[in-house]
């Protein structure tokens, strides 16, 4: 799959009168997994949403292959970049297959019939997410992990070189979080898709990110390979929390252990 450059240029994002992101220029590395981390309300989700044209910049631009998102038709963007927002809700009774089929929407015209190619891509997306067995089940009858995979299958059917995910592991238990992140990692390594996601868990972020971006104080505090940038000072600055950094026993990536008071509280 061809690469597409996604970057921001002097991007400022507002929520009402308040600046959320201020004058930020940065680039998403091609074919890599980029993870945005930061404290609650730091603007990481806002930044991700603006990179998917769900939020208009107050000033500056988001550029997709050197073109401002606002100058490209939304359907064209949808062929190049897929977004899975936080906690999406499907209408009652919608089946997995019906949902995944919607991923083909940007590739179709309103008069066009459903093609064999569409059918094939939808089947593939469902088989990649191991949902073929459940394809006729309504979404509300699936487990949280399966449901999240169904939404991801929809974005896969969109066949975009870039995939943005806003906290895809929310509401999932630990085992399902790992399963999902493993799946995304494999997708990145085998299909070369550029993946950008927001994650809450710093340790999982360090494990799966090629490129870690820490958002603090309306801009990027630091970015780079997790091994290079995650230190106790960085955690103190970005999350305002004392912690020590160890090495992940499995992968050697940074493992953040928060100090807190815990049992010392009398």
């Amino acid at each position: 799959m061809i690469g597409l450059q996604l970057q921001t240029e002097q991007l400022t994002l507002n929520y009402g009168e308040q600046h959320i992101i201020d004058n930020l220029s940065f680039e998403i590395p091609l074919h890599k997994i980029t993870v945005l981390v930061g404290a609650n309300g730091s603007g990481k989700s806002t930044l991700l949403r603006s990179m998917a044209r769900l939020l208009k910049p107050s000033s500056g631009h988001v550029l997709l292959d050197d073109q401002s998102l606002q100058s490209i038709s939304t359907k064209e963007i949808a062929k190049k970049l897929a977004i899975l927002p936080q906690g999406p809700i499907a209408p009652e009774g919608l089946t997995v297959q019906q949902l995944v089929k919607q991923g083909r929407y940007p590739h179709q015209r309103w008069y066009q019939q459903w093609s064999g190619e569409d059918e094939h891509i939808v089947e593939q997306a469902m088989s990649a997410t191991q949902l073929l067995l459940f394809k006729n089940r309504p979404l509300e009858q699936l487990s949280g992990g399966q449901r999240q995979r169904a939404w991801i299958a929809m974005t896969l059917a969109q066949e975009t070189p870039i995939l943005l995910l806003d906290e895809p592991t929310t509401y999932l238990d630990m085992a399902h979080q790992i399963e999902l992140l493993d799946f995304l990692f494999e997708l990145n390594r085998t299909k070369n898709r550029t993946i950008v996601m927001v994650l809450h868990d710093l340790n999982l972020a360090c494990r799966y990110a090629d490129h870690l971006v820490a958002i603090h104080n309306k801009t990027i505090a630091t970015q780079g390979k997790p091994e290079h940038i995650v230190t106790s000072e960085m955690v103190q600055e970005v999350f305002g929390m004392a912690a020590i950094i160890h090495e992940d026993p499995f992968f050697g990536t940074p493992l953040c252990i928060p100090k807190g008071k815990g049992r010392r509280i009398k």
Partner: protein
């Protein structure tokens, strides 16, 4: 639930046949019972000197056609308004079309001394269009654009405003209360075919466009963000749906007054039958709407013969319990 495309198509054909049968019944049944044979005769060789023929041509045919069309427009307006607000208990009058139409009609009666039903119709349509447009303009104001909660708030507020204006006018001019009350209750009796024909092209166009929106509405139903992410021009779709609701609901209110429950329950019945796919939900809703309104209109002729029950009351009698049943079933399923 009907599963395959084949079964759904058959179901649609069955509905067509049922609607056709009911139109036939609507022509034949009533205070003056006309044999089915005679109805057939009217269609083949019309005789203006025969009373039965005259009744069918001057009154019943118009009623049947109005019930047919308004059943469709009310039900489809209901589907659209529930999809737009993502609220399963929304009905077309939510967007202020009823209150606006009533206010304008009362205005026409009290101030402009207009007497004809056709005159009321145009004023009703104007009022419905103005208040519906005002609701959508008010609710698209602000940063997030048109959100369900803003539509509901603006609709409720504007309805309350128009209702109090109406009450004010009626207090000043008590004589028109009688006319207005009858109109509010909703009726399709005594309307000429002319009234329907004058707005029929625009209603048909709105119905046709609604049918084409099915695929877009499927994508829209998963939420604004998902729809935008899939490349849908969500703002444009919302405006289009808003315009269609105002035309469909406003047109029917203008012709027949407020006929409740069709826009509320038919979308649910339709979804129970064919699922979430709007490409099926919309045509099913249209035919089911006609079915219910034709039934209600026929029943309205018999309950307190020789008088007639206002059809708005009739749809409520049929629709109310049914809605309670739907709600109860929905709750117990969880």
């Amino acid at each position: 639930m009907l599963q395959t495309t084949f079964v759904k198509s058959i179901g649609l054909c069955v509905l067509f046949v049922l609607v056709a049968c009911l139109i036939y019944c609507s022509l034949a049944m009533g205070q003056l019972s006309i044999s089915f044979r005679a109805v057939w005769d009217v269609m083949n060789h019309y005789n203006a000197e025969d009373t039965e023929h005259l009744v069918i041509a001057t009154s019943r045919f118009a009623r049947a056609m109005i019930a047919l069309v308004l059943g469709m427009t009310l039900a489809v307006a209901g589907v659209l308004v529930q999809a737009l607000t993502r609220n399963p208990i929304a009905a077309p009058d939510l967007v202020g079309v009823n209150a606006g139409a009533i206010f304008f009609i009362v205005l026409a009666i009290t101030w402009l001394n207009i007497q004809s039903l056709a005159g009321y119709m145009w004023f009703g349509f104007l009022g419905a269009a103005l208040s519906g447009t005002a609701v959508f303009l008010l609710s698209s104001w602000g940063r997030d654009g048109l959100t369900p909660i803003k539509i509901i708030l603006a609709g409720t507020a504007l309805s309350a405003l128009f209702i109090s204006f109406t009450q004010g006018l009626l207090v000043i001019d008590e004589q028109s209360i009688q006319t207005v009350l009858f109109w509010i209750a909703g009726s399709i009796a005594g309307r000429d075919l002319e009234m329907l024909l004058s707005v029929l092209p625009i209603l048909c166009a709105a119905l046709f466009i609604s049918l084409l929106l099915g695929k877009s509405m499927n994508v829209f139903s998963s939420g604004d963000d998902i729809a935008k992410g899939l490349g849908q021009r969500v703002g444009l779709l919302k405006i289009l749906m808003g315009i269609l609701i105002v035309i469909l609901a406003g047109g029917s209110i203008a012709i027949a007054g407020s006929i409740g429950f069709i826009g509320l329950i038919i979308p649910h019945v339709s979804k129970k039958l064919v699922g979430t796919d709007y490409r099926w939900v919309i045509p099913y809703a249209a035919l089911l709407g006609s079915l219910l309104l034709l039934c209600a209109d026929i029943a309205a002729r018999f309950i307190i013969m020789p008088q007639e029950v206002p059809i708005g009351v009739m749809t409520a009698i049929i629709g109310g319990p049914f809605f309670v049943y739907l709600v109860k079933r929905g709750v117990s399923k969880r």
